[in-house]
């Protein structure tokens, strides 16, 4: 993790590249296993992602997402079982209602909705996982550092 450089400041030399910090909330049964499969299949994906394992996407409280941003995440990903595959029958159906609604609230607050991503990755989709992470890391790099909360923290406004 030492290899990851944090947000560049104006004084840094130009060689410093921005490496986004992405927090991923994965469901234990599908996406976490999918990520595991990507690993055992030796599929590479960018190391910018920090995984938090949860029992189900239905467990994801919007608090987690906001807290991740508050603590310096540039992007948050929630990933779980495809609709119909939930280990608890309906957790992802609930997440599918709650979290996109939260995303529209974030957008209304002025937070770029692209900074909060969701995906369905099954335990068999190691390839999809590696692709999703590559895609969102590219997007997060393009969006640049998420400085809203950093500025607040430093009283920079």
């Amino acid at each position: 993790m030492e290899a990851i450089q944090t947000t560049s400041t104006a004084d840094d030399d130009e060689q410093t590249t921005f490496e986004p910090r992405i927090v991923a909330f994965l469901c234990n049964w599908c996406s976490y296993a999918g990520a595991d499969l990507a690993g055992t299949s030796r599929l590479g994906y960018p190391p910018n992602i920090r995984i938090v394992k949860l029992p189900c996407t239905g467990r994801v409280d919007p608090l987690f997402i906001l807290k991740a941003f508050e603590r310096g995440a540039d992007m948050v990903l929630v990933s779980g079982c495809h609709p119909g595959d939930c280990h608890y029958t309906s957790g992802n159906y609930h997440a599918r209602r709650k979290l996109p609604t939260f995303r529209s609230l974030l957008e209304f607050m002025g937070i770029d909705p692209r900074r909060f991503q969701m995906s369905w990755v099954s335990a068999a989709q190691g390839g999809k996982w590696s692709q999703v992470v590559a895609d969102i890391t590219a997007l997060a790099t393009e969006l640049g550092p998420f400085e809203y909360f950093e500025r607040i923290r430093d009283n920079r406004n």
Partner: protein, 283 residues
């Protein structure tokens, strides 16, 4: 309105004399400057404090869930249509039972001077499912453009939105008046009071303020009935109603749901609909 006041006092007196209820919660000019505030009439003598007029903007449903009010016994409560919707949400969330209430509905053409924003779009001028209804039926069509304020705000670009909210939220003094006045913010322990782990910073600093105000609004998704009390009591004038309106609009658009229209409804987040829900925006 004067005769309505008289009618209400007679109704309340009758209920209290018959001991059908332990308390009548209503409005009265009993504030320190004669302003309209809540009245808890527990004896037939106290009903003279009750009044009804255009200043009845408070949502008295907030008291129904308070333990100190519960102790007074069965409640009679004076409600406008909007307050009646709040009671529906409390019933659907198993906070109160319909049979524990005697609901005195008052038909309402809108409150406040000038009329409150919410009254222009009101669809419940005649409160449904009441034990007693006072006043003549009101027939006013709601105006168009319920979400005009939300749509106007959304013409701003993303940075302008954030700057707007930052300017507003930095004034928040974390008095939690918005929470206290809300009939649907009834948790015994609010997330903001939990400190292991501390999800929401409690100092009145912008960082915790953003978290608090976003979460407060989001916890009311599909529950808020848009009574506007939070915005009215906010001492620093944060447009909390705008956040609530956005979520009311979302729930209406996405889940075809309007909160508080019936006590049998299920909140949009406690159910799902495979025909309605889509994977839009999900990778």
């Amino acid at each position: 309105m004067q005769d309505l006041t008289q009618l209400l006092r007679e109704t309340a007196e009758d209920l209290l004399k018959r001991k059908a209820v332990g308390v009548v919660i209503g409005y009265g000019h009993t504030g320190s400057r004669g302003d309209m505030t809540a009245v808890f009439a527990r004896t037939p003598q106290q009903v003279s404090q009750l009044a009804l007029d255009g200043e009845c903007y408070r949502n008295l449903a907030v008291y129904l869930n308070k333990p100190e009010v519960r102790k007074l016994g069965r409640c009679a409560i004076v409600v406008k249509g909007c307050d009646r919707r709040a009671i529906n949400v409390l019933i659907r969330e198993n906070q109160i039972a319909r049979e524990d209430l005697h609901i005195i509905g008052i038909t309402c053409e809108g409150v406040g001077d000038p009329k409150m924003q919410k009254c222009r779009f009101c669809t419940v001028h005649n409160p449904p499912d009441c034990d007693t209804v006072l006043g003549d039926p009101v027939d006013i069509e709601p105006e168009e453009g319920e979400f005009a304020a939300v749509e106007a705000f959304e013409t701003k670009d993303i940075d302008a939105r954030w700057n707007f909210w930052k300017e507003k939220l930095k004034d928040c003094i974390r008095c939690y008046a918005c929470r206290q006045v809300c009939p649907l913010c009834y948790c015994k322990q609010c997330v903001v009071e939990k400190n292991i782990p501390q999800w929401v910073e409690t100092s009145s600093h912008l960082r915790g303020n953003v978290m608090w105000n976003v979460m407060r609004a989001f916890h009311l998704t599909g529950r808020c009935i848009g009574c506007g009390e939070c915005e009215r009591v906010c001492p620093v004038g944060i447009p909390l109603g705008l956040l609530n309106q956005k979520l009311i609009q979302q729930v209406k658009d996405k889940f075809e749901f309007t909160s508080g229209m019936s006590a049998d409804e299920k909140g949009p987040f406690s159910t799902f609909d495979l025909g309605l829900d889509t994977d839009d925006g999900i990778l």
